[in-house]
């Protein structure tokens, strides 16, 4: 009899007939999650609103095409914006091949021994190291050790170190998600490991890799601490002409303006933040578009 079974279960203490309470807890949890989510969204909206109100009045061609100045109405972000473009380009050139190749090697080629595990563990750890530490490494190795001075290439190499763990982990996840059967099929047809990796694994993993790369580059574009550490400059009134030139970047210009006493400079900083957000948005949108295209092709 089900009824007697029920009472028996109750006696054991394993079953409690408290469906009401459980439903209430479930509802409570749902509200809690919603509250947390909307708090985040609200704070972000507030921040964007505040920044827009302060900064939008300064946004014009003059702001984009002028060098920094002591007069707020003359000041602009030309050198910072171009510096940021240079930096991102160099970082991408350096970190994407190295990061993807590392992930590919770790998952497709290397023997999965103890050293392999140790490397995996260390890469995960490196992803959590504070960015200022990378700044110190960059200063010691690139700026002083290799005598690259406070140049774009020093900054780009330092930032590449910073985001490499993120790129490697994301690429590895994407490569791991490629079904084993794809590889088996390729091997069965006589493809080498290289042919399999290049022609089948990489294209399938591409959308995932791209997501990781964009997230990593977005992090690099907003980082200030390592650049300050390696001594990127604050006042630069010329455009870099090569990777050996000294430079400034948007986060540094923002940092400098925020710390000035005059209110107008704080508003300029807000203007620069809007530009930085716009650059980020464009980068992310491009990535989503490319990912969408390639995913369709794969299907």
């Amino acid at each position: 009899m089900p009824n007697s079974e029920n009472t028996n279960l109750k006696k054991t203490g394993l079953y409690k007939d408290n469906i009401q309470t459980r439903r209430r807890i479930a509802a409570l949890f749902q509200y809690f999650c919603a509250l947390v989510t909307w708090t985040g969204v609200f704070l972000l909206a507030l921040l964007l609103y505040q920044v827009s109100v302060d900064g939008i009045q300064w946004l014009d061609m003059q702001f984009l095409s002028s060098f920094p100045s002591r007069f707020p109405y003359k000041a602009g972000i030309k050198s910072a914006l171009v510096g940021t473009f240079w930096l991102i380009t160099l970082i991408a050139i350096i970190s994407i091949p190295v990061g993807v190749a590392t992930a590919l090697y770790l998952h497709e080629f290397s023997r999965k021994g103890r050293i392999h595990k140790l490397i995996q563990l260390n890469i995960s750890n490196l992803a959590g190291v504070p960015s200022i530490v990378y700044g110190i490494i960059g200063l010691t190795i690139f700026v002083r050790g290799l005598a690259l001075e406070r140049s774009l290439i020093s900054g780009a190499l330092t930032m590449s170190l910073l985001i490499l763990p993120v790129i490697i982990i994301a690429s590895r996840e994407a490569i791991q998600a490629v079904p084993m059967s794809t590889r088996h099929a390729a091997f069965a047809l006589g493809a080498t490991r290289w042919q399999t990796a290049w022609a089948h694994v990489l294209p399938t993993a591409f959308p995932g890799i791209l997501t990781g790369v964009i997230l990593a580059l977005s992090r690099a574009i907003g980082e200030t601490a390592p650049l300050i550490m390696i001594g990127a400059l604050t006042y630069v009134a010329f455009l870099p002409e090569g990777p050996m030139d000294s430079f400034t970047a948007l986060p540094i210009q923002i940092f400098n303006w925020v710390s000035r006493p005059q209110e107008e400079f704080h508003e300029l900083a807000a203007g620069a933040i809007i530009v930085l957000l716009a650059v980020l948005l464009i980068m992310n949108a491009t990535a989503i578009y490319i990912r969408h295209k390639t995913e369709q092709k794969l299907k």
Binding site: K78, F85, T89, I93
Partner: protein
């Protein structure tokens, strides 16, 4: 050097795409542009001095558009490290060079020339709703800020003041302002009571003090000048009557002892470069007018003249000894 050559200005979008190809080319050929460093002047150092150096650089570029000037901000001490490594030509300093840094310069072989460029008046400020404080003496400041201070309430400073907790705000320990204030008020650089709200961001101090009726704090005059309506300035009595900092009292030395000179340090060997020599002369000729534009107080003309002399005669070394105390009075006296 005087050939006028504007830097090419390209639209940013075109530039970004072109930079890809160019970057690869540069990486492959391994060619840097270091030979361009002729006709370049690099400055680094204090964030306090930065606005002056930026203004000077901006004006200088208007007359010498083909010289590359860069100004960094690493703090006075951080800047000196780069300076002593030969990485910069000029260091911005909000305090005189320390004896440990002088030792470094002897070790590295880089001699330096010390040039005062402006005054800053460290300002003591309280909340605008603070009705009781009309002045503070140096002794009272010492009593409040000394290490192990027993001052907890305003009445501990003067008995007639209210029995309310005093809330202290000040710059963090990395700041040259902190060094100067503790040196002058507590007799030893870095000696301060630790239980105050410290921030490297002076704007955070301004916000803290303007929002708390029992607050008191100190920072550079420029931050007071930009927030006059939200802060109350406290006149300081250094022994001959209470004086509030103002461009006049700081310039003529009557706001004492909290007026401090701020400096640039020039590497002696860098002066052999025509660009650096030219820039330093321009700096001294224009520091007076431009420093007041960005919130600082110009030095008397004779001090700039004396500084120029030091440059022309390549007089190396510091005028400040072991005690490392830079008073406005030192500069104003006729030695």
């Amino acid at each position: 050097m005087l050939v006028s050559q504007k830097f090419p200005s390209r639209p940013a979008s075109l530039f970004a795409s072109a930079s890809f190809a160019f970057a690869i080319f540069m990486l492959l050929t391994g060619c840097g542009s270091r030979e361009k460093l002729e006709g370049a002047v690099s400055l680094d150092g204090s964030s306090t001095v930065f606005p002056i150096s930026e203004a000077i650089a901006e004006e200088y570029l208007a007359v010498r558009p083909n010289i590359r000037i860069t100004v960094g901000v690493s703090g006075t001490g951080g800047g000196f490290k780069k300076f002593m490594a030969g990485e910069t030509d000029i260091n911005d300093a909000s305090r005189p060079i320390k004896s440990s840094e002088v030792a470094q310069s002897i070790a590295s072989g880089y001699e330096f020339i010390e040039l005062p460029v402006a005054f800053d008046g460290l300002s003591i400020v309280v909340n605008t709703d603070n009705t009781w404080v009309d002045s503070l003496s140096v002794e009272e400041l010492h009593k409040i800020w000394q290490p192990g201070s027993s001052v907890k309430q305003w009445s501990d400073v003067r008995v007639e003041w209210p029995q309310q907790d005093i809330k202290l705000y000040g710059p963090g320990t990395d700041s040259g302002t902190f060094d100067y204030f503790t040196e002058t008020i507590n007799g030893k650089s870095g000696a301060s009571r630790p239980d105050y709200t410290a921030s490297e961001d002076d704007n955070a101090l301004v916000r803290g003090i303007s929002g708390d009726v029992n607050a008191m704090g100190y920072f550079g005059f420029a931050y007071y000048a930009a927030n006059k309506d939200n802060l109350k300035l406290v006149p300081v009595d250094g022994g001959s009557g209470a004086v509030a900092p103002s461009p006049e009292t700081i310039n003529n030395g009557s706001y004492s002892p909290l007026s401090r000179p701020i400096f640039i340090y020039v590497r002696k060997d860098a002066l052999e470069k025509i660009a650096v020599m030219d820039f330093v002369k321009f700096y001294l000729a224009n520091a007076g007018a431009l420093s007041s534009e960005v919130g600082y107080i110009p030095l008397p003309e004779k001090v700039y003249a004396r500084a120029l002399q030091r440059v022309e005669q390549r007089t190396a070394g510091t005028a400040y000894g072991e005690d490392n105390e830079a008073r406005a009075d030192d500069l104003l006296s006729d030695d």
